[in-house]
């Protein structure tokens, strides 16, 4: 009798865990960045120089991390029906930048953003090609030095 109860509990637990795992993995891939805890605080210049000086080390440090990055807006782009903010690598550096692919709910907060504005952006850092790439980004503050 006791053995049957244990088996029943084990099977029930297994079924619940399987159902939860299936739900967890099949859920919508949308991630709300506001619900995620920031792992790294940095600025665009330091972030880019980390990759330029040692890409292997920077990959380990930053990739797939939730990052808050402070920087100067270089450009705002609406290409591919996306809203993207480019952050400068530094005053005289034009080659590299941080590409911030904004969450769709961010459109209202960035419509009057312009080149030269200082901003704080939170997002998921994905890696570096010629530019650093961040997805699921949200604008936390603008004109932070004023």
């Amino acid at each position: 009798m006791k053995s049957n109860s244990i088996k029943l509990i084990a099977i029930t637990t297994l079924v619940v865990l399987s159902a939860f795992s299936y739900w967890y993995l099949s859920r919508d891939a949308y991630m709300n960045i506001f619900e995620k805890e920031t792992e790294i605080y940095t600025n665009a210049e330091k972030l880019i120089s980390s990759f330029v000086s040692n890409q292997d080390l920077a990959n380990v440090t930053f990739v797939e991390k939730i990052v808050e990055v402070q920087g100067i807006v270089k450009e705002v782009s609406y290409l591919n029906d996306r809203c993207t903010i480019f952050l400068e690598a530094g005053k005289h550096e034009t080659k590299n930048s941080i590409i911030c692919d904004m969450q769709t709910n961010q459109l209202h907060s960035i419509h009057n953003l312009k080149s030269g504005d200082s901003v704080l952006i939170k997002g998921l850092f994905k890696g570096f090609l010629m530019d650093g790439i961040m997805l699921n980004c949200a604008l936390l503050k603008k004109n932070i030095n004023e």
Partner: protein, 182 residues
């Protein structure tokens, strides 16, 4: 040593070594892929692919981070990154090639073949892509759709999921270029 040599070759391509070189760059190239089966359709999009064209020799290069692809479902993304593409081991896909018989001064649309080497998941294969090139007063847009075989890139699909993934994947890209400022 080999790593250094590869780095220098790539660096020289992206930076240019000669004079009068004219290059254009796309930092927000869009690359999508589609897998159609009777079980499920899988599609994903990457909006941050990089490409450079060098007009001096009509060479073209493209590179993209594989973990940047956005999927509809978390499970699809996890299978793609962890089991199929193994993005922690092979984080990038790259293409290096040449636009054949390309006339950059031609204003309007022209269809050209691009021949080159596509590298994915540690495997490099020669491919030919029929590409539409739209030049509107010096603003170039390249678009194409081509098919590729999963087996060509040593991507292993578990038998249990074989019915969910098409053997042939349809890939579409759109690169909108701007002048490359060094």
């Amino acid at each position: 040593m080999n790593k250094l040599l590869i780095f220098l070759l790539v660096f020289s391509f992206f930076n240019g070594t000669g004079q009068n070189q004219e290059k254009i760059i796309a930092r927000q190239g869009q690359v999508s892929f589609f897998s159609y089966t009777s079980v499920e359709n899988i599609k994903a999009k990457n909006n941050q692919a990089l490409s450079i064209i060098d007009f001096s020799n009509n060479k073209i290069a493209a590179s993209m981070l594989m973990n940047v692809f956005v999927f509809e479902k978390t499970l699809m993304r996890e299978h793609f990154n962890e089991s199929y593409i193994e993005t922690d081991i092979y984080p990038k896909a790259t293409f290096e090639g040449e636009i054949i018989d390309f006339d950059k001064s031609f204003n309007g649309k022209q269809t050209k073949m691009i021949n080159g080497i596509f590298s994915l998941h540690g495997v490099s294969k020669p491919i030919e892509i029929k590409t539409e090139i739209d030049n509107t007063n010096g603003n170039y847009i390249l678009t194409a759709t081509f098919e590729t075989f999963v087996k060509d890139y040593d991507i292993k699909i578990p038998p249990l999921l074989a019915g969910n993934i098409a053997k042939t994947i349809s890939v579409t890209f759109r690169f909108e270029y701007e002048p490359y400022e060094k």
